[in-house]
């Protein structure tokens, strides 16, 4: 058995022996995909609507029917007066309230009709989406009844995610998050543990070269991370039919590139931290937090203040998520993604150099 092979076998044993951690790591992508897919939806569907209709005439009845016919809304109640309507909103028994004027039919003929949409602004994005939907329903109804065509008919089409399904958008970010967690965090903890127990010293006086130690440490995690990437894609397809429009090979190759970046960061963090706890905190703050918040995963980069937008450019996940979104949703390939791929390759080369050097330097300090 070559020294390197013995080392990889030993690392694999550590991982397999810690059944609890391994189970968590393997289940993580499944749980995350289902959690994000079901819980964090931005789609407007089945909104519980209260309509306040004091006039209760033919026109308003039509409008109520139209709202009922829209899948986005479910009319819970039609009230004759607005008293108590806002309370239902406050108590969370309704998502939106539509208030029509007293003389709806007449004011509509005169062209002075006004309707008010109340939404719960605490959930800002949702409220905005509900408002837009309500306006759209009223607009359609109006177009059908006024007999007057609008001067310009806009025809909005959302390309690459035609149904605006939120699960299509979170899967690339989730992929980045899961890969970061497994590669960087687990590597950092694993090296820091050897430091803590003193076994690292033994490895260093052994014939194993520092580079062999680093590569041997990350190899099993590389396999684990790759398994997780595939699990994420498979679960996303099975549960939500999230498509992969582009090349699967390119997608997996990019994931491999990103895993190398994350592993290198994990090694670097471990060389700088005294023990497992420090390594864990450093990874959480310096890597996982930016991967969540500054990569375009949770918050759109275009709506961040300019200085923060600059920061997002050094977060590896930013580029990886752009690549994955491009491949999965737009079906584009290297011809359009070469810049992102090049940047990620550069990051990988730089970080691998820095981290192996930092690992070897530690010996001479």
């Amino acid at each position: 058995m070559s020294p390197f092979r013995s080392f990889v076998i030993k690392e694999t044993r550590h991982i397999l022996r810690d059944v609890r951690t391994l189970t968590v790591l393997l289940m993580l992508p499944i749980v995350m995909v289902l959690l994000f897919g079901f819980a964090i939806r931005t789609d407007v569907e089945d909104v519980r609507l209260i309509i306040v209709d004091p006039s209760s005439d033919v026109r308003s009845a039509e409008l109520v029917r139209d709202f009922n016919a829209t899948p986005a809304f479910r009319v819970e109640k039609v009230l004759p007066s607005s008293s108590g309507a806002e309370d239902l909103l406050r108590q969370g028994k309704a998502d939106a309230v539509l208030i029509l004027p007293i003389d709806f039919a007449r004011s509509f003929e005169r062209g002075t009709a006004q309707a008010m949409v109340l939404t719960d602004g605490i959930n800002a994005n949702f409220a905005q989406a509900v408002s837009n939907q309500a306006e759209a329903v009223i607009g359609r109804w109006q177009a059908g009844h006024s007999g007057q065509r609008p001067l310009i008919a806009t025809a909005p089409r959302m390309r690459f995610n035609p149904t605006l399904a939120s699960e299509n958008l979170f899967v690339p970010g989730l992929l980045a998050f899961v890969l970061t967690l497994v590669s960087a965090l687990m590597t950092a903890i694993s090296i820091a543990r050897e430091k803590e127990t003193g076994t690292l010293e033994l490895l260093l006086v052994s014939p194993l070269r520092p580079l062999q130690i680093v590569v041997g440490k990350v190899t099993p995690y590389l396999l684990l991370a790759f398994t997780n990437a595939i699990t994420t894609l498979v679960v996303a397809w099975l549960a939500f039919r999230v498509p992969i429009e582009g090349s699967l090979v390119l997608l997996l190759a990019s994931s491999l590139l990103y895993v190398l970046v994350a592993l290198a960061i994990g090694v670097f963090i471990s060389t700088k931290s005294a023990d497992q706890r420090a390594a864990m905190m450093a990874t959480l703050l310096a890597l996982l937090l930016p991967t969540l918040a500054l990569s375009g995963f949770v918050f759109p980069i275009s709506s961040m203040p300019a200085p923060l937008q600059v920061v997002t450019k050094v977060v590896p996940a930013t580029w990886f998520i752009r690549i994955v979104r491009g491949i999965m949703l737009k079906g584009i390939g290297v011809e359009l993604l070469w810049k992102e791929l090049l940047i990620l390759t550069g990051m990988a080369a730089f970080l691998i150099t820095v981290s192996t050097r930092s690992f070897s330097d530690r010996l001479d300090g």
């Binding site: 058995m1 070559s2 020294p3 092979r5 013995s6 080392f7 076998i9 030993k10 044993r13 550590h14 022996r17 810690d18 127990t197 003193g198 076994t199 010293e201 033994l202 490895l203 260093l204 006086v205 052994s206 014939p207 194993l208 070269r209 010996l363 001479d364």
Partner: protein, 264 residues
């Protein structure tokens, strides 16, 4: 174990003090500085084949830095050292194959079994197949640990672990083994058993380079060096050191020398 009893009362045993041409470890003016701090200051000594060499000094005296240089972990700032025929400055990687090492912190993997640990370290030193298997069986038989092969190391008593760690460090039959406070935290009976293992290894020709804080253990060594503030202040057999300092125990020798130290 005749050597054992000899050494417990080693005052009268003559020891070849200049290890000479067949020195396994040989340091000349070996120095290491960190910035303007001189951790190890021009130390010179020879350790012969099969010798048990005690390397003493208070905390901060420079022992660890010296051992790191001798094991190829740290390059010397000046001076030289030859270990197992290789220069530490130019070929540290050749040295690594020739030495064994056991640190004060217990260094086998708790979550692996005895067998897995032995196979791992054997494999790292290039042992394979039936050779590795034979040596593993021989080693466990000698320790009386055959029944523990499948046990996780984490569940063993500390004394057993340390005996095991020492035997693992000898598995690839190194010409010199470095023991950095190997008996820390162990009861006197186990320490005594541990020293029997040391003598056995030395009897088979392995050079033992050992640091310790226990002065009774210093008495067991063939020769002892005492470092103070990066300098070797004394180097001789325990018997002659006691005579020279006019005291009854190594403890008193150590106290007289270390008292002058500024770093501890």
């Amino acid at each position: 174990m005749t050597r054992d009893t000899q050494h417990i009362t080693s005052d009268t045993v003559p020891v070849d003090e200049s290890a000479g041409p067949d020195a396994v470890v040989s340091a000349r003016e070996l120095t290491r500085t960190f910035g303007d701090f001189t951790a190890v200051d021009r130390i010179s000594f020879d350790v012969g084949k099969g010798e048990v060499f005690g390397f003493l000094g208070a905390n901060g005296a420079g022992k660890t830095t010296a051992i790191r240089m001798l094991t190829g972990l740290l390059s010397p700032s000046s001076g030289s050292a030859i270990v197992a025929g290789h220069d530490v400055a130019t070929s540290p990687n050749l040295i690594k194959q020739q030495i064994g090492y056991m640190s004060q912190r217990f260094a086998l993997y708790d979550d692996l079994t005895v067998k897995e640990n032995v196979r791992f370290y054997g494999g790292v030193y290039g042992l394979r197949g039936s050779e590795l298997k034979d040596r593993r069986h021989a080693m466990l038989r000698k320790l009386g640990f055959e029944h523990l092969e499948g046990e996780r190391v984490g569940g063993l008593p500390l004394g057993w672990k340390q005996k095991l760690a020492f035997s693992v460090a000898l598995l690839h039959q190194p010409s010199v083994v470095f023991l950095d406070e190997p008996t820390g935290g162990v009861d006197p009976v186990t320490r005594r058993q541990f020293w029997e293992l040391i003598y056995e290894a030395a009897g088979q020709g392995t050079t033992v380079f050992v640091t310790t804080h226990y002065m009774d253990e210093a008495e067991y060594c063939d020769r002892v060096s005492i470092m103070v503030d990066g300098i070797i202040k004394a180097l001789d057999t325990p018997g002659r050191l006691k005579t020279d300092f006019g005291v009854d125990s190594m403890n008193d020798v150590f106290l007289q020398l270390a008292r002058g130290g500024k770093r501890s």
